[in-house]
Amino acid sequence: MAGVSARVTLNEAGRLAVLQEMRADKRVWVLGEDVARGGLWGQYRDFHDEFGAERIVSTPISESTIMGAGLGAALVGTRPIIEMRIFDFVMCAMDELVNQIAKVRYMFGGQATPAVVVRMPHGMWRNSAAQHSQMLEAWFAHLPGVTIATPSTAEDQAGLLVTAIRSDDPVLFFDPKDLWGVEGDVPAVIEPIPFGKARVMREGSDLTIVTWSALTPQVGEAMETLAKDGIKADVLDLRTIWPWDIDAVAASVKKTGRLLVAHEAVEVGGFGGEVVATIVDRLGPQNIKAAKRIGAPRVPVPFSPPLENEIRVTPEKIVAAAKAAMV
């Protein structure tokens, strides 16, 4: 066993995971804005004191070069953690991410090892409006050459980060910034959690609900309400959306006959559509009574609290969608 566990927040769990890996491997380092002072979210608190300015590199607001320099440093054998502060700023570094990081290994016939972790805190958080709230993880599932982590618990934040840092693949790590404060038990020695293995949140036989990242607590609330109303949901948190646990979802839907995918991101073109299509294809439409998805409407994230609440996928909306799937 991995020693005594501590009750910590998701933010701290991630901090401990990076700390553990940086202590174990001198090639691991962090670059990004404000990381020397602990990062925007405190996710690198006290790192500068321990590792110094060479391994905790506070950078200019130069997203293209934060991303591209991380790649260049990986190509000579270091293992950078590229901190993007808030996901939305990745749009300033799309060439470096999409055309360079995701392509070099393939384009150069396997000569390159772009072992980077790109951390991108995403999602709605305290009314941050349209440029600080987006969830576009589906875009990157469409991008060959990367893996995508979308944790929602402190335990998974820690274990998936360890896997990400040790991976030779470029890992896009979507920190759920609305869940920084959720608590969990993290062991003294954090073990890697493999990508592509879903976490079972609840077992049931009536309906499969699949979710990930920031919507997980809302789904958790919805499944309790459904249980009170006599609907036993089988609930899975995918934890990573590439690769994703097709076998676990398919096995669950085979049992329940009904699938609902719920995500915070816009429903149109979201990853929920991919999950539904894959499962319907695998099990055959004749074996499925319902296959639905629920996500945000196709509008930018508005600022005003009542407007933001208007577009949120709430437990009530999830319950309603689940009940619609039961008909």
């Binding site: 293209s64 070069t65 591209g68 440093a73 000579v76 950078p80």
Partner: protein, 336 residues
């Protein structure tokens, strides 16, 4: 390519070194001419961007680099790769999309890389190599190496954001990187001067605290001497430097562009400044005969023709190769 006397800080211009520079330039010229002929003959799929006329920059820069020095290049990068030590067989294999290519046929002309000689790859995006070179320099410094990173880019790239970001970054962290602006005066089909404000790339670099040196890129001995000095300084910890090498592109943007849009008088004047002809004259004065130079030209042409022939006979990659080298976790599997 590393020449025998490529010691940091010293590019003594003896005849032997000049001959090596000549050999590198004529090999690049022969590669490009052979590639153009192959492209026009239908042997090569996709676009082809050649660097005929610009050989002095690639040869003069790379003569001062070791195998462990890293180089990032651009879409017009065959000369950079050859000068850095890449092999023409694997280059032609890649141009022709064959399994024998550097990238198993998955990259093509714009993505030639040979990590074994520090060639970190050509790039299909203008300016794309700048942040990568800066990061390579940062990584090398972190690992305690005294190797340097060199970034070859064109005059068009100096109008992209990563140019500003990358130079600021390199100066800020005092990184061992040489930025080489290979200024052929044209950004694709547009005269760079017609779309560029201000006093130019060197002034931009200096405004960011990156010292800049201007050189006639068609005078390979001058490029060699300047880069020898600069790289020695960078290796010793001076921080980044920018070399602005003026040169001239003889051809259109791609090999299918006949360049009818260019001013014929300008092209003739540019060709008259041929870096190879110029060094040939210098060599003659240094006692190297025209016959000896001709022999190097003939040898280079034969070498590239042989590589062309070899590549044409090489196997096409099997379908499964399309599925290789994507990623370790979550890779799709090839199915027959």
């Amino acid at each position: 390519m590393t020449t025998d006397n490529a010691t940091p800080g010293g590019a003594g211009h003896n005849a032997a070194r000049l001959k090596e520079l000549f050999r590198t330039m004529v090999r690049i010229r022969a590669f490009e001419e052979t590639a153009m002929a192959a492209h026009q003959n239908g042997e090569m799929p996709g676009p082809l961007h050649v660097s005929i006329g610009q050989e002095g920059v690639a040869a003069g820069v790379c003569a001062n680099l070791r195998d462990d020095d890293r180089l990032t290049s651009n879409h017009r990068g065959h000369g950079h790769a050859l000068a850095k030590g890449a092999q023409p067989d694997a280059m032609f294999g890649e141009l022709f999309g064959r399994e024998s290519g550097y990238c198993k046929g998955k990259g093509g002309s714009m993505h030639i890389a040979d990590f074994s000689v520090g060639m970190l790859g050509a790039n299909g995006v203008v300016g794309g190599g700048i942040p990568i070179a800066v990061g390579a320099a940062q990584g090398l410094k972190m690992l305690g190496s005294n190797a340097v990173a060199v970034c070859m880019f064109g005059d068009g790239a100096a109008n992209r954001g990563p140019f500003l970001e990358g130079l600021n970054w390199a100066a800020l962290y005092k990184l061992p990187v040489l930025f080489v602006c290979e200024d052929n005066g044209v950004a694709a089909f547009t005269a760079t001067a017609s779309v560029t404000a201000g006093p130019g790339v060197s002034a931009r670099a200096e405004s960011l605290g990156v010292p800049a040196t201007g050189v006639d890129g068609n005078d390979v001995a001058a490029v060699d001497a300047a880069v020898g000095r600069i790289v020695a300084g960078i290796r010793a910890g001076s921080g980044p430097h920018l070399l602005h090498a003026k040169t001239f592109r003889w051809t259109g943007h791609t090999s299918t562009d006949a360049a009818a849009w260019r001013d014929p008088a300008e092209v003739e004047a540019g060709k008259a400044r041929c870096p190879i002809a110029r060094l040939r004259a210098t060599l003659f004065e240094a006692g190297v005969s025209g016959a000896e130079c001709d022999a190097m030209v003939t040898e280079a042409a034969a070498e590239m023709q042989a590589s062309r022939t070899t590549a044409n006979a090489a196997a096409w990659p099997a379908g499964a190769v399309a599925y290789d080298d994507v990623q370790d976790t979550g890779a799709m599997k090839w199915q027959a």
